[in-house]
């Protein structure tokens, strides 16, 4: 039977697409399965190499990873013999991998919690989280109370907040994402109270969803949202408590919903880690930080 073989061939070809949506092609990050293959190959390469060659592996937040991938590229160019491997998997993964040594550096898109005091964080950029609506939505701002009421299901129609007579599509993030944690913490909400109409994975999916739905309300990283809005996505960023979600306000600290993007290590630092951290913090990468719509930290 030739046909079933053919079909199995199709499904095999489709399978790799079903990986975690966290890594987007735009940032040229490998999705995790390929990354694992890469690690295996690299293991072989490192095994053959002399001691002058070094490999750093970084895992964690999908918000930090694209920026770090760019920084890593520049670092590799100026440090021949060093390989930097970046994989996504969320901030919690960054913490765990840095602790148990799976990765030398964890990527964490929030400040460290008190119970994570055993780790050392290096802030390489600051990002904010912005509420976004579809570009066609006439609503120009929402108060904190209105946002809280919408996300808990107390307000369900845009007319109740000065918009068109249409039901609000509440876009929420899936469990475990630090963007969700930060959003809940800022608005003093518990994940059980949220009444979502759509649950999304990464920032890109959130922007696609809001751009395709004129009545959607979501929240994503300001960096990604500004980038996509500039590239023509039909979304608009809403001010929060009257403060515009722009880079100047994130830089000055006025924007209320912002977070540090951290590289996290478990001391003592593994060989080769300290120079990379210093490089990632240096003004040499300011242009990369800004090109991803993040704010370089005060140095």
């Amino acid at each position: 039977m030739a046909i079933p073989d053919l079909l199995f061939g199709f499904s095999m070809a489709v399978l790799p697409q079903a990986g975690p949506p966290a890594a987007s092609a735009r940032h040229r990050l490998r999705p995790i399965p390929l990354g694992m293959v890469g690690m295996l190959l690299m293991g072989v390469m490192v095994g053959c190499d002399t001691a002058s060659h070094q490999k750093l592996s970084l895992t964690g937040s999908s918000t930090v990873a694209p920026l770090v991938a760019e920084i890593a590229k520049r670092y590799e160019a100026s440090h021949p013999g060093t390989r930097v491997d970046v994989q996504t998997g969320g901030s919690s993964r960054g913490i765990v991998d840095a602790r148990n040594g799976t990765a030398q550096i964890g990527l964490v898109s929030r400040a460290l919690k008190p119970e994570e005091a055993d780790l050392q964080a290096t802030t390489i950029a600051i990002d904010g989280i912005a509420l976004i609506v579809n570009g066609a939505n006439p609503v120009r701002s929402l108060s904190n109370d209105q946002i809280r009421a919408i996300y808990t299901g107390a307000l369900t129609n845009w007319r109740q907040v000065g918009g068109l007579d249409a039901p609000i599509t509440v876009v929420n993030k899936a469990e475990g994402r630090s963007t969700l944690e930060l959003f809940l913490e800022h608005f003093q909400l518990d994940s059980r109270q949220i009444k979502a109409s759509v649950v999304i994975g990464d920032n890109q999916q959130g922007i696609l969803t809001v751009a395709a739905d004129p009545h959607a309300l979501g929240y994503v990283s300001i960096g990604t949202a500004s980038h996509e809005a500039k590239a023509g996505a039909a979304i608009r960023l809403l001010p929060l408590a009257g403060i515009a979600p722009c880079l100047e306000n994130v830089r000055s600290g006025r924007y209320p919903l912002s977070r540090p993007l951290n590289l996290v290590i478990q001391p003592p630092a593994a060989p080769g880690v300290v120079p990379f951290l210093a490089f990632a913090r240096s003004p040499e990468v300011n242009d990369l930080v800004e090109s991803q719509f993040f704010v370089p930290p005060a140095r």
């Binding site: 070809a13 079903a18 994975g201 696609l208 739905d213």
Partner: protein
Amino acid sequence: MSNPSSSFHRHADRLLLWTLRLLSALAALIVALILLFVLREAWPALHQFGPVRFLRDPGWHPASGDGDGGYGLLPMLVGTLLSSGGAVLLAAPLGLGSALFATSYGPPPLRGLHRQLLQLLGGIPSVVVGFWGLVVLTPLIRQWHPPGQSLLAGILCLTVMILPTTALLSEQALRDVPAPSLQAAAALGLSRRATLEGVVLPVARGGLLSAVVLASGRALGETMAVLMVAGNVIQVPASLFDPVRTLTANIALELGYALDLHRAVLFVGGLLLMGVVAVVMALAAGLRSSPGHG
């Protein structure tokens, strides 16, 4: 049998036999290893909560602390069954119709084209179907009934994805009907319709059923397209327009971000999915071997 080369042939046969045995054992071993691995990863959660809690818990809040979180997988199981079931209900008759077109009713010049189009459809990656669903299908559904990302959108995307499987396999099943049966039908002077109803469909029943089963398997396991269009809200849907989350979407959304118990519970979801697929396969095997049909 006293031929001098026969002992050589027997040896060659034995070699082939053992190679084949080894290969099939390997294939079975892979499935067993996957099952063992999933079981091992799911074990911490199964051990701590027992299997019943995953179906009884009212909510899904796996990241909110130990023990007091909700770990209800039932809404996602329902989401998986409804989206796949709906897609199979749509794709099976469409596939059969397409197969009849390709074997009996369609004008011969169009048949090849039709088949190639179906093969092309089968080659479209699921993310592309999902993207189409997100930007074309869900806005249409939203105009009808918000929010658009819904069980219905999931069913339609899945239908598009499994239609080639049902159509091409059904076509093969119809083609596998022995020519003498058809000749006998023609000799009896049966009409095309009577031939189909009385001869072709009953004889091809097993093959048609296989087509549906393989398609169900694919629908149950499909992840990306459903993740993009079905809304992923964890609830038992009250209508076709409510968003749902499937077991596969749940794993894809959360596995990269899950730690400890949360991660283990996601593997319980995987185990549940394997169970569902096994049940579907077993049902199909039972149906196929039911008396009176080959």
